[in-house]
Amino acid sequence: MSFGLSHIDLEEGTATRQAFGDALVAAGTDERIVVVDGDVNNSTFTNGFMERYPERFFNAGIAESNMVGIGAGLAAAGKIPVVASFSTFLMSNAFDQIRMSVAFPNLNVKLVGTHAGISIGEDGPSQMAIEDIALACSLPGFTVIVPADAASTTAATRAMLEREGPTFLRCGRPKVPVIYRDGDDFQLGRSNQLREGADVTIIANGIMVAMALDAAAALAKEGVEARVVDMHTVKPIDTSAIESAGNETRGIVVAEEHLAYGGLGATVSMVASEKRPVRMAFVNLGDVYATSGKPDELLVQYGLTPAAIVDAVRRVLKD
């Protein structure tokens, strides 16, 4: 996949789901960690853990409600359950179980949804989680993480397992460009500023981070300096980074692979409107379901491109 990148040269890395699976195996030395998967372990990449620690791996079959409930019981009994499936089947199918059995009792369950967004491609809209961030963010006490690349997913997986409390980690299907190196600073709830700029701020997460960097490179050629912020943790959100963006640049563009309502854009707007109102523009999936197609074709079709981010920046900077 190219992700429409044409102004920067990023090496292709592994998929975030693969990085999650590898990090999970590494974390497995902690015997409290158990995995419950909805029979998609060769897609979520929890099969590495399954092979290494078969006694601590439970295949719930195609029954997401029961899968989440089992995770809740395991957490209540002192385990650290990682409950994994395709993000849409996990978050949408089992939402009431997540609400009632995990969020309300504030149990230490780690939900990991893979194959999020439209970048899964040909399988089409029934398999695309594009409401999952809104659902996860609506739950009191939840931490919601959308990492941009393999190294940050590795760090996010570690941080999620170390931190007590219910968490949703969103991973994608395709191989994604390398943005971070192993060992780079990663803290839940604190965004990473990847590029300094005084004119405008682009806040992005997931696959949109690489596109934001590409858009910033394109804008620099026109003399527009864009700050790029990787807002990997949507909840709790880094309010100070948003406030700084409002104070130090002329506007904010938010880019995400999610519907318009209830995602990163909505959350950033809420903070900015209270702390430091500025002009804003949004790059997201709007209010529609996508179709089947090649991942790169879909990103163009639904406006998730560096060019769309550049256009949004122009809207923000227009007098």
Binding site: N66, A76, A77, Q97, R99, S101
Partner: protein
């Protein structure tokens, strides 16, 4: 250390009467709640907590060696609270704070606020899955603790109950006992009219359970069934306890289908308590 609590038949009868009195008093004081759905499970919880079944320690409610009791039909919270207070998790005087602002005795059980509550329930169908999580953790740790989950018959219309039953049966979770409070009624009418479940025991057998159908108001039958359950190896057990919604209060028993989620009016309370009998 979690221990079992074994009282003789007279002691159990007195406990059952006290639990019924608590249910009536608490819901009437609250002015809302589900007394009829709670009164049907009184003998079941009485035997679990005082008939030498559950091993528990109210002073250490999170001990990993404890047996677990999960009330999946969360609207019967007044019944759960009554037995937990009798067992010593909190003072019985607290029972009449039911549903009041600031009280941990919420309308439906909240495990974060009240010791002894093993799961936050109230959205139906979720208890059996949570029970499986506990049973798997217990098995993984090599403990001999057991998990009991009580579901309603109306609640058994939820698909998740059967997802859980399939999993428990297929994985031979013999440390899991599922009890159905088969009181025959759901909110608007008889279960048999809304979504007939029979043959319920055959259904659980088909999902890999050993089953027993009992009179859920006979302390002896409940006790024998729970003894039987502990002896079953290699399979989870389902006990279908035939019960009467509102058992022990004539007003409620007479209107089974039409008395759901309503307390006994204050002017009927003393008559109801009289029918239940003295506290000791």
């Amino acid at each position: 250390m979690p221990e079992d609590h074994h009282e003789d038949i007279e002691g159990l009868k007195a406990r059952a009467r006290r639990i019924r009195r608590h249910i009536v008093a608490a819901t009437t004081a609250a002015g809302s709640g589900h007394p009829s759905s709670s009164l049907s499970l009184v003998e079941i919880v009485t035997v679990l907590f005082f008939g030498g079944v559950l091993r528990y320690d109210p002073d250490d409610p999170h001990d990993l060696d404890r047996d677990r009791f999960i009330l999946s039909k969360g609207h019967a919270a007044p019944g759960l609270y009554a037995v937990l207070a009798e067992a010593g998790y909190f003072p019985v005087e607290q029972l009449t704070d039911l549903r009041k602002l600031g009280s941990p005795l919420e309308g439906h059980p909240n495990m974060c606020r009240l010791p002894g509550v093993e799961a936050s329930t109230g959205s139906l169908g979720q208890g059996p899955s949570i029970a499986i999580g506990h049973a798997l953790a217990i098995r993984l740790d090599g403990r001999d603790a057991r998990v009991y989950v009580l579901v309603g018959d109306g609640e058994s219309e939820e698909g998740q109950v059967w997802e859980a039953a399939m999993y428990a049966g297929n994985h031979g979770l013999d440390n899991l006992t599922l009890i159905v409070d088969r009181n025959g009624y759901q909110q608007t009418d008889a279960v048999d009219k809304i979504q007939p479940l029979d043959p319920l025991d055959d259904k659980f057998r088909a999902f890999g359970f050993e089953t027993k159908v009992i009179d859920g108001h006979s302390l002896e039958e409940v006790s024998a069934a729970l003894d039987w359950a502990r002896g079953v190896t290699g399979k989870p057990q389902a006990i279908i306890a035939r019960t009467i919604k509102g058992k022990g209060v004539a007003l409620l028993e007479a209107k089974q289908g039409g008395w759901h989620g309503k307390p006994i009016p204050p002017d009927e309370e003393s008559k109801a308590l009289e029918e239940i009998g003295a506290a000791s």
